[in-house]
Symmetry: C2
Subunit: 312 residues, 2 copies
């Protein structure tokens, strides 16, 4: 459609696993990342460098990064909330530091135990730290379309925080619908305002399917030229501080839509579906991805088999 | 957004119930229709007049229509596959005869045991029959975006069948993504081609969420001025002859999106959610609707409660 390739950042190993009821072993995380690295993905979020007491599922961050295979051409990312996290991430050879600030004051206080001002300062510190290294900072603007505690987040509240990220030299900034409150209208408003003000910056979308709107919101972004999206294999995910925020948009469902519409992704959809199946096996649970269950639209069925089963 | 009101035709009592594993009693269907009639819906599909051996769940069509309350301002519809069905529907005081032809020859042979030519003749017969009555024919073009046995359905294969429906005096024709194979691109191609050729006809969309694309496809329609949509309370539905075609788009999830975007519907979202809960109670099963689980985006949570539960 647009001619530009759509770049997916896979966040299942971090945003997906951190909310799973089971603790996934380091070895299984490495297996999952190996499968994801063989799908054509060029951005994979591996883990987060947060305090293990806060998110125990990510306590093995260094071990995962030390043990995993690094495929050529893939940028491996980690979520870092503060300078200590950035130091650990650099030592573990993380290429992209995902660093975020939520627009909502309440959400920052619950999610990272900082005020919005403190979170902005942490972002600036991490950015300054990254400048002297080979790693880059990628900005994540959390609760950009609404907060479950504070409600709607008007564009005017988002712009000053985006400015801090732009000043911090982030070239790629994801707008995160952390708890699935966006709709195609609110996506359009924020994306258009940011693109107009900072045409040199790449604005991406991190979407959740909490209320069934994930791919409709992605479409609203695509129609405005957004090329960067975060999604999670099998639709795993959520947020430990976001009530009912189940489900990032599902990577393979989104790629299935993109390919159906003629977008280029350089991704192998069958390999993504296989990675989702592996993830289900590792978790011992069904994931919400729908192509996993229904198959691709291009997979045809045998009418004769159906005819045999038809009622008399 | 568009200024025009979006009109939803609720198909849960027909398309939803016909594929449920449990047989719902006539009394429970009447309860469900009573709840739906109190939501502001102006089009409700009640049942289908097919042979009870083919779809046993709809064997009580006459009893449901005779026993149910008819709310003022609501048009009650039934699916009729042939002239015998139309005669039964008229006797039962059905106002809209939904009559369909699938674009796919194979699908027609499996679904209604007719060739496409025979199905078109049946549509013409039903249309001629309706002309002498106070009832109207509403056209449904099945498998308009793909057939699970034959694959993609190009626009050129759809147009001649739409022409038959237009000649049969259908003023409203739904394009049905019977098995969830559409994407926003294929929706755009068919809707634009039909609107261009027959600007006087109202083209609507009947969508399934089989592969997670339901609301993205609805958005593609909305953006092209489509105002008529079919959906199912709680996201119930499918098709007995469509492998894995689980799930019409969910009425309350769609209305939640429309209201979030500022579209007018004249529908009471809370009443729709209550009707979905009643339907879950009747079925004794969870339905796939997501707002049912997550709540409306406008429903805020108490941060203090979350803070109390935060890990140390």
């Amino acid at each position: 459609m647009s001619g530009k390739q759509i770049i997916i950042s896979e966040v299942g190993a971090r945003d997906g696993l951190q909310t799973q009821p089971v603790q996934v072993s380091t070895a299984d995380k490495i297996r999952m990342l190996y499968a994801l690295s063989a799908t054509g993905l060029r951005r994979i979020e591996v883990t987060s460098f947060v305090h293990p007491k806060i998110v125990p599922q990510m306590a093995d961050a260094e071990d995962v990064l030390a043990g995993m295979h690094r495929a050529p051409g893939v940028r491996y990312a980690a979520f870092v909330p503060n300078i200590k996290g950035a130091e650990r991430a650099l030592a573990a050879r993380v290429e992209d530091f995902k660093s975020g600030v939520a627009v909502s004051e309440t959400f920052n206080s619950l999610n990272v135990r900082m005020s919005t001002g403190q979170a902005m300062q942490a972002f600036a510190d991490i950015s300054a730290f990254a400048k002297g290294t080979s790693s880059q900072v990628v900005g994540v603007l959390g609760t950009a379309f609404g907060c479950p505690y504070e409600g709607d987040m008007p564009v005017e509240r988002c712009l000053p925080l985006i400015e801090v990220m732009v000043e911090g030299c982030a070239k790629l900034i994801y707008f995160a619908d952390t708890t699935g409150m966006a709709n195609p209208g609110s996506i359009a408003r924020l994306v258009e305002a940011a693109q107009k003000r900072w045409p040199e910056i790449n604005f991406g979308l991190h979407l959740h399917n909490t209320r069934g709107l994930g791919l409709a919101n992605a479409l609203a972004g695509l129609e405005r030229g957004v090329t960067d999206f975060e999604s999670s294999i099998g639709g795993m995910g959520g947020c430990p501080y976001a009530p009912l925020a189940v489900g990032n948009i599902c990577t393979e469902d989104f790629v299935h839509m993109l390919h159906g519409m003629g977008y280029e992704t350089a991704l192998d959809l069958d390999a993504l579906i296989a990675a989702a199946r592996l993830t289900e096996t590792i978790l011992g649970a069904k994931l919400p991805g729908m192509v996993l269950r229904a198959g691709k639209a291009s997979e045809l069925h045998d009418a004769e088999k159906k005819r045999d089963k038809a009622p008399a």
